[in-house]
Amino acid sequence: MTTDQATPAVPDRSRTGRPPEARRRPLGALGLLLGTTAVLVVLALCSVAVGSRPIPLDEVVTTLRDRSAADPHLEAIIWGVRLPRTLLGLCVGAALGLSGALMQGLTRNPLADPGLLGVSAGGALGVSIGVGVFGVSALYGYIWFAFAGALLASVVVYLLGSLGRGGSTPVKIALAGVAVTFLLNSLTYVIVLRSPEALNRYRFWAAGSLAGPDGNTVLAVLPFVCAGAVLAIATAPALNSLALGDDVAAALGRRVRWVRLQGVLAVTLLAGAAVAVAGPIVFVGLVVPHVARLVTGPDHRWLLPFSMVLAPALLLLADVVGRVVARPSEVGVGIVAAFLGGPFFIALVRRRRLAEL
């Protein structure tokens, strides 16, 4: 594992000096990446087809290809309801997977997930303030409150984690994240317990759901997710150096503080957007990078794209399962994701010897 981590950090970029398996891996990984993308496309089509009114796959494809020629009833379901939902699932999934992989790389902690920066707790407080204090009742009016809360929380966590001697260390960021999460949760509970309306919104938001967006919601989060994704992918080579420890990364010429700041910014944008529209979906960001790492090894230049493709696949699968298991009502995608990811995570913990904290 250590030698694998060291490979990308070697400044000599010529391919001649590398062991054969290091040269072979990118091709195999590229094939797997394409394969995973194909699975993702199939899952996306399924996500459009499955629901309280099942639509055969061929009709889905025809309606998607030519909107005007389709049965108006089908057109309304597919273009009005299921396509926005699927697209939102893709956006949110990609954001969660990327931010999870990034967070684990930044904190060098296999247990890190996007929620660790206080993003979920900040979003929850934002929702409860929006509904309970400002009386926002529009279905997606409180997205912006959630986003602002998530942004603010992660900035506070980062600043608190950088206080004291030695600047921001992974352990301090993790501890600051836990403390801020507890503090924000307390405030959320105060508001929610005093306002039944806020509680009503909060409990559905907290379950995590992709249900009910329109095209505008997708368009609203897309810029944040894209900006975050570009920032995230750009940090990948630096993350490889950071994996060797702060001192080694600095000796290799990385500006460690800047890398960490850039990474935190990317996580904030990605996870903040995801939390705002879909609620706190904790497990995807934690589990997906572990699965991706089984395939790619620790090279972040492959790990990040893989997580970005794998996470929406898991999320769409969870969403489809959630729609099917409790017909005619639904189970929130966050809940299904936790119950799909939880046993997997436990199996992983039992099988592998993870690095100790």
Binding site: L163, T169, V171, L183, S186, R194, L199, R203, I335
Partner: protein, 352 residues
């Protein structure tokens, strides 16, 4: 040879009393006495506060039955149970947190984090939402907490357990349980969701003697056991290999300590709900007050008792008529404390 022998070496005082010997730590003793005195004062003020205001000085006489019969009734029947629940639950949470932090050697490992509270919460919320209010909640919470702990231990077992694997499996269980709780909350009526959430934060409003008795018996039995097992916690804190080398039966010790810790937290959660953060913060505060390298359990118990009692008083002072759940205040106080700790700490990579 005298019965009690004291000897001073540089930096420490050792004592020998018949067959028992040990190190006398003045700072540890002093902090225990100070915490106990403060807890007593806070409880008296807490008992004196309410719709029928009394002087805190009248509380102690009323407790032993002297003074105005009306006051005696109010103190003994209405307000004493609440104060006792606060003290007992705080002590139970803190001791169990101290045990978990010692055996996992991680200051972030507390019953809040590794799913025991979450399991109890899921059982209770299921009782509120599915049972329609006819079920008694404390036994449900107890069963939920114990079942989750058993499941975590079994899943973490693979040729023995390690503290680290227990934490990881516990975190996964905590997530699954809290997801189940979230799902149940979305299925509930709004009023049911309100009462469930009020319980989830940790609440000691309106507790009577029926909540004190099971909790009191549990603490009276389990706290001495925990203190007796303290010998093992001190060696386990040095790591599995060192502990084994020192002659500690590592797996047995860990199982016993886990059983005690889980039972304490399960009984406390059953009567008050999962009061946020006490189990995590109290042992850490106690450790720093006593100036030791591991959380001392008795000091932790007193710190926890003081934390919950003081938070309850504070909650009633901040918003007098709202019945603010005590967990909200302990959460805010505990977070502030952890942040202070974070700014002060300068050990890198030690987890706090």
């Amino acid at each position: 040879m005298s019965l009690l022998a004291l000897s001073r070496r540089p930096g420490r005082i050792t004592f020998r009393l018949a067959a028992v010997s040990g190190v006398l730590r003045p700072r540890l003793l002093l902090s225990c006495v100070a915490l106990a005195a403060l807890t007593l004062v806070v409880c008296c003020v807490g008992i004196a506060t309410g719709d029928y205001p009394m002087s805190p000085r009248d509380v102690l006489p009323a407790l032993v039955g002297a003074g105005d019969p009306g006051q005696v009734f109010i103190v003994r029947e209405l307000r004493l149970p609440r104060a006792l629940v606060a003290v007992l639950a705080g002590a139970a949470f803190a001791v169990s947190g101290g045990i978990f932090q010692t055996i996992t050697r991680n200051p972030l490992a507390s019953p809040d984090m590794i799913g025991i509270n979450a399991g109890a919460a899921t059982a209770v919320v299921a009782g509120i939402v599915l049972g329609g209010g006819g079920l008694r909640l404390p036994p449900l919470g107890l069963a939920g907490g114990l079942a989750t702990a058993g499941l975590i231990y079994l899943l973490a077992w693979r040729r023995g357990t390690t503290g680290y694997r227990i934490i990881l499996v516990g975190i996964a269980m905590a997530w699954m349980c809290s997801s189940a709780t979230d799902y149940l909350l979305t299925r509930a009526q709004l009023t049911e969701a309100q009462s469930a959430l009020g319980w989830l934060v940790g609440n000691i409003n309106g507790r009577g003697w029926e909540s004190v008795r099971p909790l009191g018996v549990a603490v009276a039995v389990l706290l001495p056991v925990a203190l007796l097992l303290g010998r093992w916690t001190r060696t386990l804190h040095l790591g599995d290999e060192v502990a084994r080398g020192l002659g500690t039966p590592v797996q047995l010790a860990r199982l016993c300590l886990l059983l005690v810790g889980v039972a304490l937290v399960a009984f406390a959660t059953a009567s008050t709900g999962p009061v946020l953060f006490v189990a995590l913060a109290a042992p850490q505060i106690a450790q720093r007050l006593a100036g030791l390298s591991a959380p001392p359990l008795l000091t932790a118990a007193l710190t926890g008792a003081l934390m919950v009692a003081a938070s309850d008083l504070l909650a009633r002072w901040i918003i007098p008529d709202a019945d603010l759940p005590v967990g909200v205040v302990t959460g805010a106080l505990g977070a502030a404390f952890l942040l202070w700790l974070l700014v002060r700490t300068n050990r890198a990579g030690s987890g706090g």
